[in-house]
Symmetry: C2
Subunit: 315 residues, 2 copies
């Protein structure tokens, strides 16, 4: 079933210990949609500038991503410049230019309205909410956010959280949102804010899903019995940007590809999310996601079983 994502399509200039790359095609919605495209039909809502040309369009086309919802505006696309020279876990931002994103008014093409899955990538919670309300048919809604919105736009964010099925954020964001240092207690508080599931990204240590008391995903677990998937230890992380969005794409893409959301589907989705995240960081920007094959994805899925399961014969 189709999944619609709203978020940034952008250009990034990134410097890491592996080198420097100028203006790679990036942005949360780009990582998400390329990653999800291996599993299901994807539709994007975003805005780009005149620097988004046929080469960039071709990347989406090659993955059969529906870009009807990408608006083209005069000016330049969202641009971010950052480095990970001392710490691969945390980006140092050198420059952020909102450009055409400053006046972004999401418009939802009528062909998107039947999307049963919706992902609200990390943008202004006011826009997240507007998109969510414009798509009442979405039966499963996921979302991301970041420290900036948690800190200075708490009320707007609270309204978004109320309507979420799954919130995907990192450790620091969970603790900041809950104002609580213990992860289990923090997860409990965040789940009380609305999301039925909380997926916490731990970077190189993997990801943990916590569940509220309400029925979700066939009661896959709880706060005290969460589900954890490891990350793959890599000898070289070329560019950590987009790992979380790629996780989200694999996770929601796989769920959307399945007839019903059972605990088993949720668990496999967590694994596919981690698989897609592990590919994303192997090259700069979205380069690796542009070239990875479904065969490689399933091979790595089996590798993830091998590094985490007591018995791991590939099935």
């Amino acid at each position: 079933m189709a999944i619609t994502v709203v978020g940034s399509v952008a250009f990034d200039t990134v410097e890491t210990p592996a080198g420097r790359r100028e203006r790679c095609l990036a942005g949360a919605a780009t990582y998400f949609s390329l990653s999800a495209s291996f599993f299901t039909e994807v539709r994007v809502i975003a805005v780009v500038g005149e620097d988004f040309g046929s080469a960039e369009q071709a990347v989406f086309d090659a993955h059969k991503v529906d870009t009807t919802g990408i608006q083209h505006a005069p000016g330049k696309s969202f641009f971010w410049e950052g480095s990970y020279l001392e710490n691969l876990n945390e980006a140092k931002t050198h420059n952020t230019e909102l450009n055409v994103f400053a006046g972004f008014e999401p418009k939802i093409p009528s062909a998107y309205h039947d999307s049963q899955f919706l992902f609200l990538a990390n943008i202004d919670p006011v826009l997240q909410r507007r998109v969510r309300e414009a798509m009442p048919h979405a039966k499963l809604v996921g979302g991301d956010t970041m420290n900036y919105w948690i800190k200075d736009h708490a009320e707007n964010l609270a309204r978004v959280l109320k309507g979420l099925d799954a919130l995907l954020i990192n450790d620091t964001e969970v603790r900041m949102l809950a104002k609580e240092n213990n992860l289990v207690l923090a997860a409990r508080k965040v789940l009380e804010m609305g999301p039925k599931a909380l997926v916490v990204k731990h970077g190189e240590y993997g990801t943990t899903a916590f569940f509220g008391d309400r029925s979700f995903a066939g009661q896959a677990g709880s706060v005290t019995i969460p589900f954890r998937v490891p990350a793959l230890p890599l000898a070289e992380v070329v560019d950590p940007t987009g790992a979380g969005d790629s996780f989200a794409g694999g996770f929601f893409g796989y769920i959307a590809s399945q007839p019903t959301l059972t605990p088993a589907v949720f668990r496999r989705a967590m694994f596919y999310g981690s698989v897609m995240g592990s590919f994303a960081v192997e090259r700069f920007g979205t380069e690796r996601l542009q070239n990875v094959t479904r065969e490689e994805i399933d091979e790595r899925f089996n590798l993830f079983k091998e590094i985490s399961h007591l018995e791991y014969a590939t099935v």
Copy 2:
């Protein structure tokens, strides 16, 4: 088969957000031997002072731990005082009194000589090596160390590492030992120093085992295909002291209880290690390990499968 452990038997005064406890029975060899005692016969080599009385002896006796190798010396036992008030992941040491441990000369009772398993807990590498050489029948030798020995006793430590089957240390220690920040590259370097397996403890994120190229544990994996076991997220960590030693006890205890070291045994041992670590931190000192039952251990083993496996029907 019997496992011999050499290390500290001590008293700890600990303060954590959960409270303060004076002079609890602690020390690496205590955590290790209580934890391992649920799986196999355990023998301890250590030294205690006159403050180690019948109450402390009873704890070892209740777990059928052989204490023939615990020397009783005039003076006080090793004492450590610390707190985890701001950060549960790192202890702040307020006081360390070596006491009788200052002149510790390990003596190995003749009844210990047939031990096929040996664990060298975190003590001076000179003593670790002496014990190892005095026990030539040990067919599987594990060891721990810490930043102090890595930094200031590198040559002595290097000699110990050459003879180890498995080294169990934490992330920071691996990176310090290898002088390398990337975990996979650091693991490769540490494995080149001698250990056949490197078990890296990540605290609340679990544990990862890396393997060298040489045959070990039926080639359970490699540097690039490690094995990861999660930690159990806990709503309250009462006292993190001894989690690593309890992991080591469950890990080696389970291995020692099995007829051969296969990849499946190694994996189950990692799970039992994580299980024992999760119990240890639920109470101050060794309190929880003193009272846990084998039934609770196996229940939690199944819980660890549930939080990490795609299919988790208990077996």
